[in-house]
């Protein structure tokens, strides 16, 4: 008789999450398509703006890891400097079958971690000294597994692509802002209407895509939580890690929070706390929801 766990917990089976992710991505694609249609049909110089946006996105894609590491002052450590961290990452990488990411440490009391890098091969997993001080080794491992799940899901690439046309919309908005200042003579004859349409369309796309991208980011967090729990075989480890990190987050001085705030999208728990009403604006789901998901998974694994 086979007591297969696979019958109870299917790796790929979080159908609700998959459906929601597809829905959000579909909406994004629709919004972006409509946006392109408006831009092109209004006689806008779409090619130029696409090229500029592509260069910007490409720059971000290729240098995001270096920028992220530099801006938080992370230093890459070798196995001799952090043997345990490396051993944990190696084993998790072997279990998840991703190339071993580089390991970096950020010297700050804020307990947090992030993964960056355009591809699994270029990935870096960073943890803060605060995280290492606050958490037990098994909780640190759960956090590392969460980041490795991000790497395996290629979240940097997915989010870069998902936000590409949002960048285009933002560029158009800026162009419109400056254009209205010094380009008014060109728009005087009949161009005014098109100008307003382009401006409004870009604004609309920018706002809508903002919420959709945030939603997608929250779903990717759930997915990484699930991946981490399944790689380590222990949802409870991640649950206690999340509880501890967020507990400590409440007591950290504000200055540190602001220092790291721009990197929120990468972090396991964002440094800025908002009320639950503000969740729509947030890159991360609320702690309660993440714990609830993990509890569900844990119950599945227990066969309950």
């Amino acid at each position: 008789m086979a007591y297969s766990m696979r019958r109870v917990v299917k790796w790929s089976a979080d159908p609700g999450l998959a459906v929601r992710m597809l829905f959000v991505m579909g909406l994004l694609a629709l919004v972006y398509l409509a946006f392109m249609a408006v831009l092109i049909s209004s006689g806008f110089d779409t090619v130029t703006i696409l090229i500029i946006a592509a260069i910007m996105a490409g720059f971000q894609y290729f240098f995001s890891d270096k920028i992220a590491l530099l801006s938080v002052g992370a230093r890459v450590v070798d196995p001799r400097q952090a043997p345990d961290l490396h051993a944990m990452v190696e084993r998790l990488a072997a279990l998840a079958d991703v190339p071993k990411p580089k390991v970096a440490i950020v010297d700050t009391p804020v307990p947090n971690a992030f993964a960056t890098g355009r591809s699994p091969r270029a990935a870096v997993v960073a943890v803060t000294t605060g995280l290492l001080d606050t958490l037990e080794p098994r909780e640190v491992e759960a956090v590392l597994a969460h980041e490795i799940a991000h790497v395996r899901n290629r979240d940097v690439m997915v989010m870069t692509i998902a936000s590409f046309f949002a960048v285009v919309a933002q560029l158009v908005l800026r162009w419109a802002y400056w254009g209205s200042a010094w380009g008014s003579s060109r728009d005087r004859r009949g161009g005014g209407n098109a100008f307003v349409i382009i401006y409004l369309a870009s604004l609309l796309v920018w706002v809508i895509s903002f919420f959709l991208i945030r939603a997608l980011s929250r779903y990717r967090e759930f997915a990484a939580d699930r991946g981490a729990a399944l790689i380590t075989g222990a949802p409870s480890q991640l649950m206690s890690a999340l509880l501890k990190i967020s507990g400590v987050m409440q007591r950290i001085p504000d200055r540190d929070l602001r220092e790291v705030s721009e990197l929120n999208a990468f972090f396991i728990i964002p440094a800025i706390k908002g009320s639950s009403l503000m969740e729509l604006f947030s890159t991360h789901p609320s702690l309660e929801r993440r714990l609830e998901r993990l509890r569900e998974l844990a119950r599945e694994m227990e066969g309950l």
Partner: protein, 190 residues
């Protein structure tokens, strides 16, 4: 295509374990011993990650029964221990190397059949170099490939020896071509 969908949906499923590559070691051991003078050890280990689940407990119970049976029938001794990173090691000892490989393979197969193939990290086989130094072949289940590991003292490896043996056994063993995946396992208890 499926990989693309998995990436889009963030379904980070590790690949299933590949256990069949392990068997190649039973011929390679002859080359190791006769040609290169590396004596095979009498111990081997299977390393895996336990899961918080009664299904897993039942699977590991089955493992224990299997181990007890093979101790009775084939005389393969065993012990289990949990390392500092909470991976479980089942260490088998048998004077016959062929039996060791078979026993490790059987254990891995059992875990696979129970649906816990994803938890398999590695199988470890010890050899002793002509100079009396330890050398290990580590079989990585996710890759289905072997990686060499020659630990020397505190967090040091004899890379030259590892490269030499990987090269020497290239025809006989499926060896991991990507050097950055030649993970060490410090403190191997065999």
């Amino acid at each position: 295509m499926k990989r693309l969908l998995d990436i889009l949906l963030g379904r980070s499923q590790p690949p299933p374990a590949r256990s069949e590559g392990l068997i190649a070691l039973s011929t390679a051991v002859v080359t190791m011993e006769v040609q290169l003078g590396f004596r095979p050890g009498q111990e081997a280990a299977l390393v895996f990650r336990p899961v918080e689940s009664p299904y897993f407990d039942r699977a590991s119970q089955e493992l224990d029964e299997l181990l007890a049976l093979s101790a009775r029938e084939a005389g393969t001794e065993y012990r289990t221990q949990v390392d500092r990173y909470r991976y479980r090691w089942v260490i088998l000892s048998d004077p016959d190397f062929e039996d060791l490989i078979t026993a490790v393979h059987m254990l891995a197969q059992t875990l696979l059949e129970q649906g816990f193939g994803e938890q398999l990290l590695a199988a470890v086989f010890r050899f002793t170099s002509p100079e009396g130094q330890p050398f290990y072949w580590i079989y990585q289940y996710k890759r289905g490939r072997f990686t060499p590991f020659a630990p020397r003292g505190d967090q040091q490896r004899d890379h030259a020896l590892e490269l030499r043996l990987a090269n020497a056994l290239q025809r006989e063993l499926p060896i991991e071509p990507e050097l950055e995946r030649w993970y060490p396992l410090w403190g191997i208890p065999l």
